[in-house]
């Protein structure tokens, strides 16, 4: 009987891993919490409309025999080889021989006055929600933060009919120029950059500029920018804020995988420190679609036992990882961004804990026990990276269940028979 491979995450990395493993003869189950494949960057992939590389991958994956479990959230690992998940029909027991982690990344948020107003969103998050049907046509949007993602987001929102007022890049012009020159070593990304340039004519790009404050009574109405030392006010409807990505490590850490800084530590074949567990994509280091596809391919082959195939494809990984490092170095965040919050600024959104309440604690655990900072529904995923930057606290690992689940999810006995697999449409 062929090995069972469970792939957690249906973005580019997970899709590539699932396809490689299925073609190598394994029984593959691909799980994602979203109702469609594609992850964040290819959000809402549909067979009827998907084009290009992602369309081909979707069609190949659909034809490969791999099973999909969509709208399915991994909750816990209670014993080796078994993951407990909540699917649309109820609880699921997912058994596996080997596992590929492709859980991607989330956006980093740093608190500033007014950041909790409805209308303030992550840049990638706003793009994703627009792809999922949130109306943006005619809305005035400011795109702010750092890195090439801002261009992609601005271009997409403009294409969806939004009025993009400008792009506020916190890095300086020399840093941007230096990154541009470095891009010639990675032709596909340079093309992407040029492609955006044509869509974004007449959208101003301000360097050395960042958001200091968001204002409004109950909704976002205005932002205040710091631009070359001056404070500039802008009337906006939406703020798309991109301050970089943070790998989602919860599944890897729950399984006991070793970390390397903020990423999962992997070897040449994407193997983690835990036998039979592989990882690919943003979870092993933020590096975009190319890295995710390349690593997913290797992880899928290696998980399925095709080490020869994995070795052949592993050679191109070095290039992808080099780009990831260059990206991170170029778009480091200025110190000013961690000093924007005032005493009354909310830091832990889930529990409404303000900055002034967090002063004087030794570490995150100390603060958590006294203030509940990090104990709310996001389980520290939003405030963790923020308090790490603000205070140097090590983010806490969410306890299982890894995501909020309704109580009734734990009332069923071990589900012996599985419901019919969900397929993407």
């Amino acid at each position: 009987m062929a090995d069972r491979i469970l792939v957690i995450g249906g973005g580019p990395g997970g899709m590539a891993a699932a396809l490689a493993a299925a073609r190598a003869g394994a029984r593959v189950e691909l799980v994602d919490a979203l109702p469609t494949l594609g992850g964040q960057i290819w959000r809402g992939l549909r067979a009827e409309t998907a084009q290009g590389r992602e369309g081909r991958l979707l069609r190949d994956l659909t034809a490969s025999g791999a099973e999909f479990r969509l709208s399915t959230q991994i909750l816990s690992f209670t014993e080796p080889g078994r993951a407990v998940a909540q699917g649309p029909e109820g609880m699921l027991s997912l058994r596996y021989d080997r596992l590929v982690i492709a859980t991607g990344a989330r956006e980093r948020f740093l608190p500033f006055p007014g950041w909790t107003l409805p209308g303030v969103c992550g840049a990638g998050g706003l793009q994703g929600m627009a792809k999922s049907g949130m109306p943006v046509a005619g809305q005035r949007v400011l795109v702010a933060g750092t890195g090439p993602l801002l261009l992609a987001v601005a271009a997409h929102l403009r294409g969806a009919g939004a009025q993009v007022l400008g792009i506020a890049e916190q890095a300086s012009l020399p840093v941007l120029a230096g990154f541009g020159i470095g891009l010639t070593a990675y032709p596909r990304k340079l093309l992407q950059g040029l492609g955006y340039a044509s869509v974004l004519t007449r959208v101003p790009l301000w360097t050395s500029t960042w958001v200091e404050e968001a204002e409004g009574d109950d909704l976002l109405r205005r932002v205040a920018l710091r631009r070359r030392g001056r404070r500039v006010a802008l009337e906006v409807d939406l703020l798309a804020l991109g301050l970089g990505l943070v790998p989602n490590l919860e599944v890897a850490l729950a399984l006991g995988c070793a970390r390397q800084g903020g990423s999962v530590q992997v070897g040449a074949f994407q193997e983690t420190s835990v036998q039979g567990v592989f990882a690919c994509g943003e979870s092993t280091g933020v590096g975009g679609v190319e890295k995710a596809l390349a690593e997913g391919h290797v992880a899928g082959l290696a998980a399925a036992g095709d080490l020869q195939g994995a070795a052949i494809h592993a050679r191109q990984l070095l290039r992808q990882r080099a780009f990831a490092r260059q990206l991170e170095a170029s778009f480091a965040l200025r110190r000013e961004l961690s000093s924007l919050a005032g005493p009354g600024t909310v830091v832990c959104r889930c529990e409404d804990v303000r900055l002034e309440e967090l002063r004087g604690y030794r570490d995150g655990r100390d603060a958590r026990l006294h203030t509940r900072c990090g104990m709310g529904p996001c389980q520290g995923r939003i405030c963790g990276p923020a308090t790490e930057t603000l205070f140097g606290w090590e983010p806490n690992q969410p306890r299982q269940p890894l995501f909020p689940a309704p109580f009734r999810a734990f009332l069923t006995t071990d589900p012996g028979s599985r419901p019919d697999p969900q397929t993407s449409e």
């Binding site: 979203l34 969103c121 998050g125 049907g133 109306p135 959104r349 409404d352 995923r381 939003i382 909020p404």
Partner: protein
Amino acid sequence: MRRMLTLRFDGRSVQVPEGAHLVALLDGDLTCHRSVRGEPRGPLCGMGVCQECRLNVNGRLVLACRTLAQEGMEVRRG
């Protein structure tokens, strides 16, 4: 051409295209629920992490950013 679905949002009848997530209901006002201290909150991360986009659907809490809209859903802000 995708067909339109009819849902009710805070008592009002609203149409969204099939395949859209419940964020399609957030037109102009992104408020979804109130925080511990009663402040208005809406989607921040857009990807199921922050939990700030929770809406009450047919009596249960779901995340608007990742829940597919379905015909006849009764949706309310928290």
